[in-house]
């Protein structure tokens, strides 16, 4: 028998949802201040309206659903709050974007908002090169908030620690706790991000000023935006030509290194920053990443070399390697135009890029996709099964692997990794079929679908304002499900069903 949720369950969910919305709304103050600093008056009003709407919604939820401080937050509450928070924040984050007039409809602004929050980077903006600094900053800041995790933001400022906080944290696909206290974990994630924010913005701004030749205030603005997009593996850029706009190999090199930083597990950052540097070469995620990086690089390089589109070997290396890293780390920066993937790239190279996009890198990082820990566990399980055939029946096989500590390969780990992997592959194929239904060829549809569900952001040309409305909605759902890694969304579905059919 399915139990119907009680009023208290709804109040707990709405109360914590309200707190997250309040924290999210407050973040709109930053682009508002930036618009004021640049003397852009219309965007100031756009963000003031967005701020007012968000704070009103948050305030109504918190006051209307007020619960006791020591209320028991269950796993179900945490999961439902997180999955709903991402949808509500998408709608609220889209308000100032829609008011700017650079998006054809509110749905397009919602697409942009979800793309930013899920650190995807697919964009439906019109005339990006003339977008106000405030709105442009908000697009990038959405990636920062989504990359950190909306719940991590709320945990840092608005929610007290405890089991409830941990359940919210896990709901956001961050099942690895770095420090014993979840609020301390959230603060450490902020610490790593802010240290790299200062360093990366400085490097990119200097490069934009000296190497690209941008004026100092613009160099700083571009440096900040590109850092945020690279570290949070988002992929938005302030200009419509993506990273190609800067025409600087040094700029590309710096963004490559920042993308790699962003794709590493925050727990691994903690290990390396506390003197345990050997973890970097012992960890199963990094070892698997090295293997898949090699495999996809070979596919892309062979495909491009066979096709002969790039005349010199160094041009091939620069173009092929950049797109490949961008795909594997889930960033989505491009140094070629979107249609070139189809018109100039060999299908083998395209397959390498799709594979890289689907795999992702680390759990507890800002990347999307299947992730190397899961792939590593599945490969280890294969090896263990083969080993069983090679030895006598009476022998017992145990396999260990290193993921920041020694772990045994247990059946439940393999099962969990396999289930999530199957879910991701199904999501990629579902989006590809939706693309085929809209009239696009399968390879093109698979490319865009994998990019959306893997939270990557590379585009071969499907994502544009004129694409069918149902495909926009499919991609929004893919980005949402891909970022939250399914479970909290499935629990939300279960909650809705139990509300209507429970007794």
């Amino acid at each position: 028998m399915i139990l119907k949720p009680q009023v208290l369950d709804l109040r707990i969910i709405l109360f914590f949802l309200g707190k997250i919305v309040l924290g999210f709304g407050l973040m709109m103050a930053l682009p508002l201040l930036v618009s004021l600093a640049y003397g852009e008056l219309v965007p100031v009003f756009d963000f003031a309206i967005g701020l007012f709407v968000s704070l009103s919604v948050g305030f109504i939820l918190v006051v209307g659903a007020r619960v006791e401080r020591d209320v028991d937050v269950t796993w179900m509450h945490g999961m439902v709050v997180v999955s709903m928070a991402w949808l509500v924040c998408m709608f609220l984050g889209a308000v100032p974007l829609h008011l700017s007039g650079h998006w054809k409809s509110y749905l397009d602004a919602c697409f942009e908002s979800m793309s930013g929050l899920a650190t995807t980077g697919l964009s439906l903006v019109q005339n990006l090169d003339h977008l106000s600094h405030g709105a442009n900053l908000w697009r990038h800041f959405l990636q920062f908030l989504g990359g950190q995790g909306i719940v991590v933001v709320a945990l840092s400022f608005l929610v007290k620690g405890g089991p409830g906080a941990f359940r919210l944290y896990v709901g956001e696909a961050r099942d690895e706790q770095i420090l014993p206290n979840v609020v301390e974990t959230a603060k450490f994630i902020w610490f790593v991000s802010l240290v790299y924010l200062c360093l990366g913005t400085l490097l990119l701004s200097l490069c934009a000023y000296f190497s690209v030749g941008l004026p100092a205030p613009e160099a700083l603005f571009h440096g900040f935006c590109i850092f945020v997009a690279a570290f949070d593996t988002g992929g938005f850029t302030p200009m419509s030509q993506s990273v190609l706009y800067y025409q600087s190999p040094l700029f590309e090199l710096i963004t490559l290194i920042i993308m790699i930083w962003g794709s590493l597990n925050f727990k691994l950052h903690y290990a390396v920053w506390t003197g345990h540097r050997r973890e970097m070469i012992r960890d199963i995620e990094i070892r698997t990443f090295f293997m898949t990086l090699t495999a996809t690089a070979v596919l892309v390089a062979l495909g491009l070399a066979k096709w002969g589109i790039y005349k010199g070997p160094f041009v091939l290396m620069r173009k092929g390697m950049y797109q490949m890293f961008s795909a594997h780390t889930g960033t989505g920066f491009q140094t070629i135009y979107s249609p070139q993937f189809l018109t100039e790239w060999d299908p083998l190279a395209l397959f390498g890029i799709i594979l890289a996009m689907g795999l992702g890198v680390s759990v507890c990082s800002t990347t999307g996709g299947i992730k190397m820990l899961r792939l590593g566990i599945i490969l280890k399980a294969f090896r263990e099964d083969i080993k069983r055939f090679m030895i006598s029946d009476s022998s017992v096989v145990t396999t260990r692997f290193r993921h920041l500590r020694d772990l045994f390969l247990e059946d439940r780990l393999v099962r969990s990794a396999a289930l999530i992997t199957i879910a991701y592959i199904s999501l990629y194929i579902f989006g590809a079929l939706a693309g085929c239904f809209a009239g696009y060829p399968f390879l093109q549809a698979l490319f865009e679908s994998t990019s959306a569900a893997g939270n990557v952001g590379l585009s071969c040309g499907i994502t544009q304002a004129s694409m069918p409305v149902f495909l926009k909605i499919v991609y929004i759902l893919q980005m949402w499900a891909g970022r939250l890694e399914f479970f909290s969304i499935l629990v939300l579905g279960g909650f809705i069903i139990s509300y209507f059919r429970g007794k």
Binding site: I257, I260, V272, A301, L302, P313, M317
Partner: protein, 41 residues
């Protein structure tokens, strides 16, 4: 104070190590791309 200095040292060396790690990956994949392009020359 010593603990703080040691922490700062670990953080700075950790960042340098992560930059080095990134460069190793970039050089490795770059070498693979170059090898492939020479293969088809």
């Amino acid at each position: 104070m010593n603990i703080r200095l040691r922490n700062a040292f670990h953080i700075v060396s950790g960042i340098c190590y992560e930059i080095f790690f990134g460069l190793v990956l970039i050089v490795w994949t770059g070498a693979l791309c170059l090898a492939a392009s020479f293969l088809y020359r």
